[in-house]
Symmetry: C2
Subunit: 144 residues, 2 copies
């Protein structure tokens, strides 16, 4: 194994992830979507499966609970979502979209998909398979 060569992967991975995020964020800004991509990712999950507790939402989004709390605070301040009490567990809170939040997701979805697709120019269906397989293998290798 050529460790020196392989070790470069983290640089490539990190800079690509940052550029993907930055590209989407810039597009959001130019189109005056008025939310960040991380806020978008939470709204989109809620759109398909609300209400959800913080914990469920954290798992589904891959974010930790403190980060999620802060993002939820922001989308609530923007009146796109709201916290409601959990019917059984008083420790728990459920989050659900407001009418305004649902409208936002419905409106923005097609544009977001187009923004996301730009990354896949010059790449094939097969590449997509490699991509998900390799990245998920790395993800699982580092699971402990």
């Amino acid at each position: 194994m050529l460790k020196e060569k392989y070790s470069q992967y983290s640089f490539i991975l990190d800079r690509t992830a940052r550029r993907v995020k930055q590209y989407a964020q810039t597009s959001f800004l130019q189109n005056a979507f008025d939310i960040t991509i991380d806020q978008w990712s939470i709204l989109k999950i809620l759109f398909h499966a609300d209400p959800m507790t913080h914990k469920e939402l954290a798992e589904k989004s891959g974010k930790d609970q403190p980060t999620l709390t802060r993002i939820v605070d922001i989308i609530i301040k923007k009146q796109l979502a709201e916290r409601i009490e959990h019917p059984q567990d008083r420790r728990s809170l459920q989050i659900r979209l407001t009418a305004s939040g649902e409208k936002k997701v419905a409106q923005l979805s097609p544009a977001v998909k187009n923004i996301r697709m730009k990354a896949w120019e010059n790449l094939s269906e097969e590449d997509f398979g490699h991509f998900t397989r390799i990245l998920n293998t790395i993800y699982n290798n580092l699971d402990q």
Copy 2:
């Protein structure tokens, strides 16, 4: 094109990049390396090619200049590097490792490589080729 399916790539990319970073950072912490991985990435570049200006270092590391300034501030505070005036251009500053910084890079290098390699268990030389090709294609697709 199945936009809905392809759009998932950004989630996978982001969470894998975060886990790689977090895994390395946790290992650094457990081994009391006393630096972050981003600080490490800057030290390592300097080790092979110092002195360098902020601008060159920003390009080489793939970080923007404000971020780089802060990281350099921190490694200087830790006395691992120092700023020196550019001989020709008074706007410019060069950064170079201190003796302590060079020692740190030399000492930590083998351990860092081992930490990095864990991600590649169950993956092949060919996978590494796909990985770099696909990620760099995405990176370039979003270039402007």
